[in-house]
Amino acid sequence: MSAVENDAAAALGQFALALAGGDIEVVDLTHTLDPDFPVIILPPEFGQCARFRIEEISAYDHRGPGWKWNNFTCCEHTGTHFDAPVHWVSGRDLPNNSVDTIPPEKFIGPVCVIDCSEGSKSNDDFELTPDIIEAWEAEHGLIPADSWVLMRTDWSKRSGAAYLNMREDGQHSPGPTPAAVRMLVNDRHVRGFGTETIGTDSGQAEHYTPPLPAHYYLHGAGRYGLQCLKNLDLLPPTGAMLICAPLKIKQGTGSPLRVLALVQKDASIV
């Protein structure tokens, strides 16, 4: 066994011990798949995102006396979900652009959390800008290449109508500006970007140029998206490890998934 192999084996062993001993904690960043959880609303003449639905097959009854199971239906983009590059027109021709062809190592990686909760509290349309990213980096260091960046807004603490926050002129929720996404994608080379809101883009992002910049730039560059996350307030700004493996759907454009973060015990308090 080489020295590198030895190191890897030791790291895995230490990891298992730390996990079992509680020094590494697992934080669930996932909302429950609930029929009443809001989904993205597009103009009615467009195709719509299917809601999550459950139909019971049997429940220890005449339909199956000893067992209970359900059929469920939903969209690839229902609930806490992953966006693959093929989701967007800008990423349609990239190689390995669907959930079944993305290399699996991309589903585990380091994560940076930019706290925008204060601004989002008073401004439903709060924007993540390059200035905010630079200010964060001044405190926590440069965003490492190939890491995930999550925008914390505490939006996940809302529910129902306040979560969707739809008005006559559309949805209002925080998100990144086009310049911020360009910076993350082109300069910081992030692996992906995630939010607590219904999309990686803000509620009013249709009115940016380009429209929906997070979708457009991230997926155009083969990067990934995560949305409808929760518990981002339990993560440290840096140092956590994100686990986000989507279902292996043939040519899937995304998938509901369980998103977990591994954090050092009490790291978020420090």
Partner: protein, 419 residues
């Protein structure tokens, strides 16, 4: 004058809910023509095509000329009561539970004498009007009512058995987001329904009528999504035992047929709401309503579906929507059979294109929400099974009855004409 009914007292929880019983439901095939007429509240009799004789009771041949060509025709329903009596006992359980019961004979202006049920405000010698209605077994019965009407006549116990009057009953309107929801809520409030439960899907999405709906007297807005089985069952658990009238106004309309759509997603959504929605509601609320068909003054009484008239014959410009409504129409017939044991009526209100965003480019006439609401209330007060609201629906069903294949041909020619 009929003594008006008063709001029923709270139910005694120690008393067993009365099991619904039914009057005799055996009729000859010839007599079923009367039930078909009663389903629409029409008074019709066999009228000989050869000699013009109007006859009652219905038979297989003309009593005068033996012709078997006996079309049913609308007949003037006026006449004079020539005999009457009050029955105080019966071997039939249904009538035993409802004694005394007034019956009599009316001599119709059309020249036939008819044995009939008699309203409390009608005496022997009076001029009266004969109405043809469905009883709790779904069969036609004839009731003589005051010719010029009378105060509170709808509260007569014999008459109330034949109708589904919303007065003091509790109503569930399935979809508060539907364009006709506000009009329905207001109409039921005006008809003195005691509680108007409004099912609200996706409370996380705002909709303009909510504020107005919430203001209507007696309205309670509760979560309900007919596409979500769990949501239906949850509401059944809460109000299934006090839903006396259910109005299934949930519907999903999109223009388009088959080839232009390229996928089945919209068709699935149409089926999820228009067909499976009806089935989910029926599986949830049906058993309780059927069991409560004789539960006192505010017994479960009616199930209302609002369907497209194009359930009868496909309108290709809304071809997939029409198909989902054809499925719902068929399912409603099954529901009618299954609810009949409880004496609970299934009333289908058929409408042509409605005044809403999905029919916006269509030329008039279109049916306004208020017209649908009026038709629902009037239909319940008459205890109907089939209601056709608006010129398009009325015209369509006439053409369908005259010749479904000819109508199909005409509907094929209509493709592309509706915008």
């Amino acid at each position: 004058m009929t003594t008006p009914i008063v709001p029923p007292p709270k139910k005694n929880p120690q008393k067993r809910t009365r099991v619904p019983t039914r009057p005799s439901h055996f009729r000859s095939r010839a007599a079923l023509g009367l039930a078909a007429a009663a389903a629409e509240g029409r008074f019709m009799l066999q009228t000989c095509a050869e000699c013009g004789t109007v006859q009652y009771p219905p038979r297989d041949a003309c009593t005068k000329c033996l012709s078997t060509d006996l079309p049913w025709k609308d007949i003037a329903a006026t006449g004079k009561i020539i005999a009457g009596t009050t029955v105080h006992t019966s071997t039939n359980v249904y009538f035993r539970e409802r004694m005394p019961w007034r019956i009599g004979t009316i001599r119709l202006d059309a020249g036939v004498s008819v044995m009939c049920h008699v309203h409390g405000d009608v005496q022997t010698g009076d001029n009266a009007k004969l109405i043809n209605r469905l009883d709790k077994s779904g069969q036609a019965v004839l009731l003589a009512v005051p010719a010029g009407g009378a105060p509170n006549m709808e509260d007569d116990p014999q008459m109330r058995e034949l109708t589904c009057d919303p007065k003091f009953r509790r109503v569930l309107i399935a979809d508060a987001r539907a364009p006709n929801a506000l009009a329905l809520a207001k109409a039921f409030a005006a008809a003195q329904a005691s509680i108007i439960f409004m099912g609200e899907p996706e409370g996380w999405r705002p909709y303009p009528a909510r504020k107005e709906i919430a203001k209507v007297k007696g309205v309670e807005i509760l979560p309900l999504d007919v596409t979500d089985t769990a949501s239906v069952l949850e509401l059944v658990g809460e109000i299934g035992g006090k839903t006396d009238i259910l109005v299934n106004n949930a519907r999903y309309v999109r223009p388009g047929g088959i080839i232009g759509r390229t996928d089945v997603n919209l068709a699935k959504d149409e089926m999820e709401v228009n067909y499976f929605g009806l089935m989910r509601l029926a599986q949830g609320f049906g058993p309780g309503m059927r069991a409560r068909g004789a539960d006192g003054q505010n017994s479960a009484t009616a199930w209302v579906n609002i369907l497209s008239a194009h359930a009868w014959s496909n309108m290709p410009d809304y071809g997939a929507f029409s198909a989902s409504n054809a499925a719902a129409l068929s399912l409603s017939q099954c529901l009618r059979a299954e609810l009949s044991a409880g004496g609970v009526r299934v009333m289908n209100v058929f409408t042509g294109p409605t005044e809403d965003e999905w029919h916006q480019p269509l030329p008039p006439p279109k049916v306004a929400p208020e017209a649908i609401a009026r038709a629902v209330i009037a239909g319940l007060k008459d205890g109907l099974e089939d209601v056709f609201v608006g010129d398009v629906a009325k015209d369509l069903i006439e053409r369908w009855r005259a010749g479904p294949k000819i109508l199909e041909r005409e509907m094929i020619e209509s493709l592309g004409q509706s915008s």
